[in-house]
């Protein structure tokens, strides 16, 4: 039985983060961009939780700061998704598109 260490979580988190970054940078559909942002946030959550376990092994079972912080981030992600989708719907009503490269009103 392979022992799953903190490093494994970190590698998985970095992979997820990279996937999220690539999604944000490459996809034109805003919905997918938002989903990619969720991936980035969840990669961070994974890191937080992983470090929290590591911290517990040193300071005892009550050192749960990282896990609580992860819950905050999830809440924040939900709020951000709501706001982002709201903006998206308003934008769609105006321009009948959800492509991010067409969001260029502030371009000189």
């Amino acid at each position: 039985m392979l022992n799953i260490s903190t490093l494994h979580y970190l590698v998985l988190g970095a992979a997820l983060f990279l996937l999220g970054i690539i999604g944000v940078l490459t996809r034109r559909n805003v919905v997918i961009v938002l989903m990619s942002i969720e991936l980035i946030l969840n990669a961070v959550n994974l890191n937080l939780v992983a470090f929290s376990r590591y911290w517990q092994s040193i300071h005892g079972p009550n050192a749960l700061h990282g896990q609580i912080f992860a819950i905050f981030v999830i809440t924040d992600a939900a709020a951000e998704a709501a706001v982002g989708l709201g903006i998206l719907i308003a934008f769609f009503r105006n321009k009948e598109t959800v492509n991010v490269d067409e969001v260029n009103l502030l371009k000189w």
Binding site: V24, L25, N104, L106
Partner: protein, 710 residues
């Protein structure tokens, strides 16, 4: 004291009549109008008789002072807000009472104004019976009586001025009674406007008096003037009296302001009789007589009054010689007789002037009313050339008018003889020297008066009938409402003169004696006790009268009357349709000049009204108007336009400055600069969100590498 204490009722009664006509007249029957309007004047007359009788008893017991009844302070306050500094440096309140004053002078005016006024009211009920605006006419007449009585009974100059303006207004309204006729409304305007000139003089004179004496009450002014503290010939008093005389000239139709009176004949004939012959036009005489204490302090003013009076007398009489309109002859005769009165005042014979006013009121009112009766009989014809031989057809009118003519011509023993002779005698004796020239002028006027009056009588009542058959057919004597006043006035014309029966003819000249307390015989003496001084002056007068010259002069003036009569009789007794005017036959140029009234109206049109152009230039009021109009359209409007042009030019400049300098450099300059400077910066912002994210990521990676591998 019932009448004296309620003397304010005398003017108020006609005011009540006028107010009734104003509010209810339209709905009243003619009989009710008669009852109210004639009734109030008759009541006023009875009241006036009572008041004068009571005054005479009262005056005997009170040292012949004037009786004053002050109701309340009508103008001004006692708070000191209307105080002013008099010439003497003291404070005086500008005040005027609603106060009434009765003394011999106002008594005389009161009696003949109400008496003649009443007769003329009665006459008017017959004369105006078939005219429109009956109640309006009587309302105006009542209003006139109210104003005239206010003028007479006022105890100060301001209230007198109220009456003065009131009679002016009524005169205007009644001259323009037939306002549908352009000539009538023009004449009304003329009368009103010419009177304004005089009124301005009166007002200024009044202010001088207020400033110099600190009061406008006759009693105060007279007391100060007779106190001896003023020099004879005091320049301020001279100015004040001259200004007052300007007012008198306007109201009493003296040169050069007489022009309105002949035109005033456009009004109904009773109006001419009441206002423009008997009462209103004597207001100027009244005012000068009332101010006699001031006039005796100003010999220059007296001279002016005498000369103007004499000139007016002969001037108007000469015009009257050739006029053909029966009322115009009488109008010029009135002007001429008023001139006599002023001549008397001017030589200091105040009582004689007033006496002439008194007798003139009767015979001139009678002449006008008789003329009205003639016009009535002639179906409205006023031109004497179309009359003739009316003697037998309207006998009452003829006889009464004949008596009046005898009176005005100065045939003894009719009223005019006594008053006119008194004036001529006083003119002869008063100063002597150059003043005898004035006597000559007056004498010549008397001759002319006799001539034109008998000319009127002969052309109207004698000679051959010259009217059309239709008119001739309608000739009829007037109703008794018109003839009864004629008869009463004829009786007065016969007997009124006896009041002033002179000493030289064995009389006592009661009239002048009655007036002594007012005039103190025209002597500018210190009169501490007026009664005593009056007696003294009367004594001096008695001495003057013992001159045989007086009988000679008296005979001469009777001779003048007879000569005038005979001349008129010779030229006009047999006048038929082709009769010739003797003056025209002798010198046509003189005749034309006289017929055209010396071209005075035309002259005034050139010089003062500007209705005619003098060689292409318009002078006078209309000239002033034209000049003002030119000034307005060229100078004022030019300035306005210039201001406009300057504004416009500067606005253009300002606009250019704003557009190119302010907007171009100040406002648009910085943005242009900013845009130019920002140009390279914009290159970084190409608008693709994902590129920004990529740069962010790259930066992040860079930071990571920097911190991890440094």
């Amino acid at each position: 004291m019932l009448f004296l204490n309620n003397i304010w009722l005398i003017p108020l009664l006609p005011a009540f009549g006028a107010a009734t006509m104003f509010f209810f007249g339209r709905r009243l029957q003619k009989s009710s109008v008669n009852a109210v309007c004639v009734g109030v004047v008759a009541l006023a007359f009875l009241f006036a008789c009572g008041a004068v009788l009571q005054y005479n008893t009262w005056a005997d017991a009170n040292n012949h002072q004037p009786f004053q009844k002050i109701l309340y302070t009508w103008l001004g306050t006692d708070t000191g807000h209307m105080n002013y500094v008099t010439n003497g440096g003291t404070q005086a309140a500008f005040q005027a009472d609603a106060g009434f004053l009765l003394d011999p002078l106002s008594s005389i005016w009161l009696l003949f104004v109400t008496g003649v006024g009443m007769l003329i009211h009665i006459y008017s009920t017959g004369y105006m019976a078939h005219e429109g605006g009956y109640y309006r006419f009587f309302g105006y007449l009542n209003l006139f009586m109210f104003s005239m009585l206010t003028l007479i009974l006022a105890n100060n100059y301001v209230l007198m001025f109220v009456g003065w303006e009131g009679v002016g207004l009524c005169s205007y309204l009644l001259i323009g009674f037939y306002f549908q006729r352009k000539s009538a409304s023009d004449a009304a305007n003329k009368a009103f406007i010419v009177n304004r000139i005089g009124d301005a003089g009166f007002l200024l004179g009044m202010f001088f008096i207020a400033w110099y004496f600190g009061s406008l009450r006759y009693v105060d002014v007279n007391h100060l003037a007779r106190s001896g503290q003023f020099q004879i010939g005091d320049p301020i008093i001279t100015a004040a009296t001259l200004l007052l005389f300007v007012g008198a000239c306007g109201k009493s139709a003296q040169l050069p302001l007489y022009v309105w009176l002949p035109d005033a004949m456009e009004g109904p004939t009773p109006v001419s009789a009441l206002i423009h012959a008997a009462t209103m036009v004597t207001a100027g005489v009244y005012m000068v007589a009332r101010s006699n204490a001031l006039f005796v302090l100003a010999p220059t003013s007296m001279k002016v009054v005498a000369i103007i009076g004499a000139l007016t007398a002969i001037f108007a009489a000469s015009i009257g010689l050739v006029q053909n309109d029966i009322k115009r002859v009488l109008a010029y005769s009135t002007v001429s007789q008023l001139g006599y009165m002023f001549l008397a005042l001017g030589v200091g014979a105040f009582a004689a002037g007033v006496f002439h006013v008194f007798t003139h009121a009767f015979f001139k009112a009678l002449l006008f009313l008789g003329a009205g009766s003639v016009i009535h009989a002639m179906s409205g014809e006023q031109d004497m050339r179309n009359m003739g031989d009316l003697r037998g057809r309207i006998p009452t009118t003829y006889w009464t008018m004949f008596i009046a003519t005898l009176a005005i011509a100065g045939i003894p023993p009719f009223a005019g003889f006594f008053s006119k002779d008194e004036i001529l005698w006083q003119t002869w004796t008063s100063e002597g020297g150059a003043y005898r020239i004035l006597w000559g002028v007056g004498y010549l006027t008397a001759l002319m008066t006799a001539f034109y009056m008998f000319r009127l009588i002969y052309l109207t009542f004698f000679s051959k009938p010259r009217m059309s058959h239709e008119v001739e057919h309608h000739i009829h004597e007037s109703p008794s409402s018109m003839t009864v006043p004629l008869v009463v006035l004829a009786v007065m014309s016969l007997f009124a003169g006896f009041l002033g029966w002179p000493h030289s003819l064995g009389g006592s000249d009661r009239f002048a004696k009655y007036l002594d307390p007012v005039f103190a015989r025209g002597e500018a003496k210190v009169l501490v006790e007026e009664g005593k001084a009056g007696q003294l002056a009367a004594g001096e007068k008695e001495e003057e009268r013992t001159s045989p010259v007086e009988y000679g002069l008296m005979g001469l003036s009777v001779l003048a009357a007879i000569v005038g009569w005979m001349a008129a009789s010779r030229f006009y007794k047999e006048a038929d349709k082709r009769y010739a005017e003797p003056i025209n036959a002798a010198t046509p140029a003189v005749y034309t000049t006289l017929l055209n009234k010396y071209y005075v109206d035309e002259g005034y049109d050139y010089a003062f009204t500007g209705r005619r152009k003098l060689g292409g230039v318009r002078l006078g009021v209309m000239g002033l108007g034209e000049a003002s109009s030119w000034f307005d359209s060229h100078i004022i409007d030019g300035a306005v336009n210039a201001a406009g042009w300057i504004t416009r030019a500067t606005a253009t400049l300002s606009s250019w400055w704003d557009k190119w300098i302010i907007d171009g450099i100040g406002v648009n300059g910085p943005p242009i600069l900013a845009r130019m400077l920002s140009y390279p910066m914009r290159l970084f912002e190409w608008g693709l969100v994902q590129w920004y994210a990529l740069v962010m990521t790259a930066g992040l990676v860079g930071f990571v590498f920097y911190y991890v591998y440094r």
